[in-house]
Structure formats: structure tokens, C-alpha cells
């Protein structure tokens, strides 16, 4: 078990299985089909993301450097939260980008009863250590346990 400490962007606690993207998560490319065609498991549709393509993202502890791509990214994440197809949490090795931040903030301000803790600044070591299937525990203060 290893512990990492990041900055809390959206507070909350959660325990979930890790899903790791070493490249940036293209939010629109990843979520669009899942949102349009009723895939409640949110299978990643981003052909350029070799780590995530074809894998289920809903309910997973999504570990990533940042999100990239279209500026619809934030509202796509907002919709995923509204439709309860969001990852269990978002854990960024880098400082959070403006699109992921927008999605997290919009969900937090405009939706009720949505929980998706977001922690950033976990560092490069976090992303090189964590692997798919590991168990992640996120604490209120931004501590992330990986085992």
C-alpha cells in the first residue's frame, strides 16, 4: 500500500477500483457514445487512448495526468454526473486543467446529490505506481491510498 497526497478540488471520500490513463483523457471522445446511446458503464470511445479505449469508466477511480481536447469537455463531464455515469473519482497527477475543473465545479454547484471527489497534484510517481485494478481509497483531505 502506498499513500499520495494531493490538493482537494472537489471534496469527498470513496473506495473504488483504479483505471489508469497515462495520456490525457479526451473527455468528449471518451464519453460521447456512452452518453448518447445509453451505455451506463461509460465505455471509453477514444481511439487515441490506448490505455482506456474500450474500458468501462463509470464507477472507477480514474487516474490520469489531465484532460485534453474539445471545450465541450466540462459539460460532457457535467452530463455524465447528471446521468450517474461518472467515474467514482478523478485523480490527477498534474494540476487540474480548465475543462475538468469546469465539469467538476458545474456538477458540484448545479447538481444535487452528486459525488465525484476530485484530487489533483498527486505527482508523477502516483501515475507510474498505480495500475488498473488496484484499490483506491480517497480521503476527505486529499490523501489517496493505493493498494
Amino acid at each position: 500500500m502506498k499513500q499520495f497526497k494531493g490538493r482537494v478540488v472537489a471534496p469527498g471520500t470513496v473506495k473504488a477500483e483504479a483505471l489508469v490513463s497515462h495520456g490525457g483523457l479526451n473527455t468528449l471522445a471518451s464519453f460521447q457514445k456512452a452518453l448518447q446511446f445509453g451505455d451506463k458503464t461509460a465505455t471509453c470511445g477514444d481511439q487515441n487512448n490506448k490505455d482506456l479505449y474500450g474500458k468501462q469508466m463509470a464507477g472507477k477511480a480514474l487516474c490520469l495526468p489531465q484532460t485534453i481536447g474539445s471545450t465541450t469537455g466540462g459539460l460532457v463531464l457535467y452530463c455524465a454526473c447528471s446521468m450517474n455515469r461518472q467515474p467514482a473519482c478523478l485523480l490527477f497527477s498534474n494540476p487540474i486543467d480548465s475543462l475538468a475543473a469546469a465539469g467538476s465545479i458545474l456538477a458540484s454547484v448545479w447538481l444535487e446529490d452528486v459525488s465525484m471527489p476530485v484530487v489533483d497534484n498527486l505527482g508523477e510517481e502516483f501515475l507510474s505506481y498505480v495500475q488498473d485494478g488496484m484499490t483506491i481509497t480517497v480521503q476527505e483531505d486529499g490523501t489517496v491510498e493505493v493498494e
Partner: protein, 426 residues
């Protein structure tokens, strides 16, 4: 973050619960990025990324309705990204059924919402709102609350306006409030380059391939690109602007670039030169081999990689007037060489509605129509975002379209050969 007494009061609910939420959204957004204060939005118009009435985005329209009902609308008018559909663009019965009955069922409803929220005019739908004909071209130094990655990167880099890579919805929040948090690309420090990209190719690099290579390397950082004045000159003329439009869209979609500087060409690079480059900037050298590597590594996800293309899109982002004219010449010439009268593959060129109007005033529109090319104002990306297009072999010169869909990317010369000769081997 410092808030003025008035901003503080809005946050406390002086203008109602909905405006308090708008304010809270902006304050949280600013706090995440260490903003020191709010700054006024100074552009005449805003630009929104969400143009499509997609059933999957129903939560967005719910939020828009809350804003409208509370009277929380912007003092600015705005343009918006392209409409998703056009009956002139080839679609089979099943596709039309899915488009109209499952996907874009909210289009009319959402367009009514846009009018209530401040749409500039009936046809203000283009990702390239900054083209002269569209009437939404900000001035250098103006503060924007825009979204649409390709428009934001163009406004920042080519026009010298200041805008963060705002998400959809966040774009309208800043416009409604009339101010945005001061951080990132709004600050002098945030506009400095942490990469120097040295272009050392033996020929003019393809705009969308170069942009892709840079985007994938620098991600969200600001690149300072050298060696391009050799190919683009030192004037922001029509050709250079069109090139940078396509280049920037690729940097923003293949990575997350919100601003680039082109040495001796873009306004801040001309004004400030290498003082824009941070001391610890990394270096990325791009030569012919690097561009070939980048293109070679694009995944081909067609079911049959050798399939004959069934559709071709050119114009993501939307084509400029000069690009339309140039492509008309090139297609005509290509057909003449191959002895064909019409393009060999159904081909759609996309442009802004106001550009199409101008183009139609010229004789070129008729010439283009004779080649069989369809001219449309849709968003090819929205057209392709459905499972029926997944297995469809579509080719494009747009690296943005390649990134978000199953479309296969080819350089412009290759696209021309495909559509005028039926294949790369002619």
C-alpha cells in the same frame, strides 16, 4: 480571490439564487487556478461551444432553462458552433432516422433557448466565428469568455485577445456575470512559452499535421514556434490566417493548447519576441521524419483498413472564403487531369453560413457545385458522432475530426488525389 463588494453581494444572493450560483461557479473556477480577482469581459460578442440539441445533453438544456427563467442572461450577444445536421449532406435512411429520432431531438428546442439567451442572428453558427464575414472577431487585448477550443486558440494566438480554454457552460457563465476570473491565459505570465518548437522541415509542413505533433507533445503548454516565417512569411494575410486556423485547431484537439506564438508572425511574438520564452523552456525539434512518424502512428480503426472511402469531409474547422476558392481550383484541376467530371467520392466542404453567402455571390460556387462537391455549414464532428458512422470509411484533412471520430486523416494533397482520382494510386 478578491471580490468587489458588488460581486460579494451577488455571491450572497442579492440578485437571486441563480445569479448566486453563477457567481459561485466563477469563484470556484478562479480559486482552483489561483485567480487574484475578476476582470471584466470586454469583447463585443461571446462565443459558445454548445450548438447541438443532443438528447444526451439534456442536463445542459435544463441548466439553460434555469438561467432563462431566472432572467440570468448575458448583456452580450453570441455566436455558437455549427449546427449538427444538413439535409444536403449524404445520409442513408437509417442515419437520418437515428439523427432525427434519437440524437438531435432537442435541436429546435435548444435553438429557441439560444435565441432567448442572446444569439447574434439566425445563422450565427460556426466554429470559425472570427472569420471576417461572421462578425465576431475580437480585438487584441480584449478579454473573452469563449469556449470552442479552435476558436479560443485562434483568438489568443492570431488575434492577441485573452481567453482561457473555458469549457462549455462556463463560457456563458462569464458572459452572464460580465466578468471572468483572472488567471492562466489572461495573465502576462500565463502567456509565456514553456516550449520552443523548432520547425526544420524541407517543405512547408501540413498545418493540421504540424499542429497535431505539437499538441500531442506540449499538451496544455504554450509553444513558441520558430522556423515558420520561412513558409508563412511575416504578414498575417489570408493564407497565413487560414493556415494558423487549421494548425491551431489541431494543437487544441490533439493536445490542449490554448495559445501558441509563431516567431515573427503572431502579434505577441512580433511584439515581444523570445522574451516570451521561459528560461527553463523545453525544446522540440520537428523535421520531415518526425511528421512522418506522427502520421504513421495514427490508429486506423476502420473495420476494413483497405475499404474504399464512402465520404470525405474538408473544413473542420470551417473553411475561409479563400480556402473555398483555392479548393475549387484544385478540385477542378484534379478532375481535368483524371478525365472525370465529378468527384469520385461523395465529398462535403464545410464553411460558415456568412462565408457561404459570400462564396455564392462569386462564380466559384457554381464551379464547385459542378464538381459534385457539396457545400454545407454543418459540424462534421457532430454528423459523425453516432454508431452508424463508426464503421463507415470516412476520410478527412481535419486532424480534429480524426481525433474525435473514426475518420481517417490524409494530407490535403492526398485528399485531393482521393476525391479526384478515386484512390491514392490514381
Amino acid at each position: 480571490m478578491y471580490l468587489t463588494p458588488e460581486q460579494q453581494e451577488i455571491l450572497s444572493g442579492s440578485k437571486g439564487e441563480t445569479m448566486a450560483k453563477v457567481m459561485k461557479t466563477l469563484v470556484m473556477y478562479g480559486e482552483v487556478f489561483g485567480a487574484d480577482k475578476m476582470v471584466p469581459v470586454t469583447s463585443k460578442h461571446n462565443h459558445l461551444v454548445t450548438s447541438f440539441g443532443l438528447k444526451a445533453l439534456t442536463p445542459v438544456y435544463g441548466l439553460m432553462e434555469q438561467l432563462i427563467e431566472a432572467g440570468a442572461v448575458s448583456q452580450q450577444t453570441f455566436s455558437v458552433d455549427p449546427r449538427p445536421l444538413d439535409k444536403n449532406v449524404p445520409a442513408n435512411f437509417l442515419q437520418n432516422f437515428v439523427f432525427n429520432k434519437f440524437m438531435y431531438t432537442k435541436q429546435d428546442f435548444y435553438e429557441e433557448q439560444l435565441k432567448k439567451l442572446g444569439l447574434m442572428e439566425e445563422d450565427a453558427f460556426s466554429c470559425a466565428c472570427y472569420l471576417d464575414q461572421m462578425g465576431n472577431k475580437p480585438q487584441k487585448g480584449e478579454i473573452l469568455s469563449w469556449a470552442e477550443s479552435s476558436a479560443v486558440v485562434y483568438a489568443n494566438s492570431v488575434l492577441g485577445a485573452r481567453c482561457n480554454r473555458n469549457s462549455g457552460i462556463m463560457d456563458i457563465m462569464g458572459s452572464i456575470a460580465g466578468f471572468v476570473p483572472h488567471f492562466g491565459l489572461l495573465t502576462d505570465e500565463g502567456r509565456k512559452a514553456s516550449w520552443v518548437v523548432e520547425v526544420k522541415t524541407t517543405k512547408k509542413p501540413e498545418a493540421q499535421l504540424l499542429g497535431s505533433a505539437i499538441g500531442m507533445k506540449v499538451m496544455e503548454d504554450v509553444p513558441y514556434v520558430t522556423g515558420m516565417d520561412k513558409w508563412l512569411g511575416t504578414e498575417l494575410d489570408d493564407a497565413a490566417c487560414a493556415y494558423l486556423k487549421d494548425f491551431g485547431a489541431a494543437t487544441a484537439s490533439n493536445g490542449a493548447v490554448g495559445l501558441y506564438h509563431i516567431e515573427n508572425l503572431t502579434p505577441e511574438a512580433v511584439e515581444l519576441g523570445k522574451s516570451l520564452v521561459k528560461e527553463d523552456a523545453k525544446v522540440y525539434v520537428i523535421d520531415d521524419a518526425e511528421l512522418e512518424r506522427v502520421q504513421r502512428e495514427y490508429p486506423v480503426i476502420w473495420k476494413n483498413p483497405d475499404a474504399k472511402p464512402k465520404l470525405c469531409f474538408v473544413g473542420c474547422p470551417h473553411m475561409s472564403l479563400q480556402q473555398l476558392k483555392d479548393w475549387t481550383d484544385r478540385v477542378e484541376q484534379g478532375l481535368k487531369e483524371s478525365g472525370r467530371k465529378k468527384v469520385a467520392i461523395p465529398t462535403v466542404f464545410t464553411t460558415a453560413p456568412a462565408v457561404r453567402k459570400e462564396f455564392e455571390k462569386t462564380g466559384d460556387a457554381e464551379r464547385l457545385a459542378k464538381t459534385g462537391v457539396i457545400l454545407s455549414c454543418i459540424c462534421p464532428l457532430m454528423y459523425m458522432n453516432n454508431p452508424l458512422c463508426g464503421p463507415m470509411p470516412v476520410i478527412t484533412s481535419s486532424n480534429k475530426l480524426r481525433t474525435y471520430t473514426t475518420a481517417r486523416y490524409y494530407k490535403e494533397d492526398e485528399i485531393l488525389t482521393y476525391i479526384t482520382k478515386g484512390g491514392l494510386d490514381g
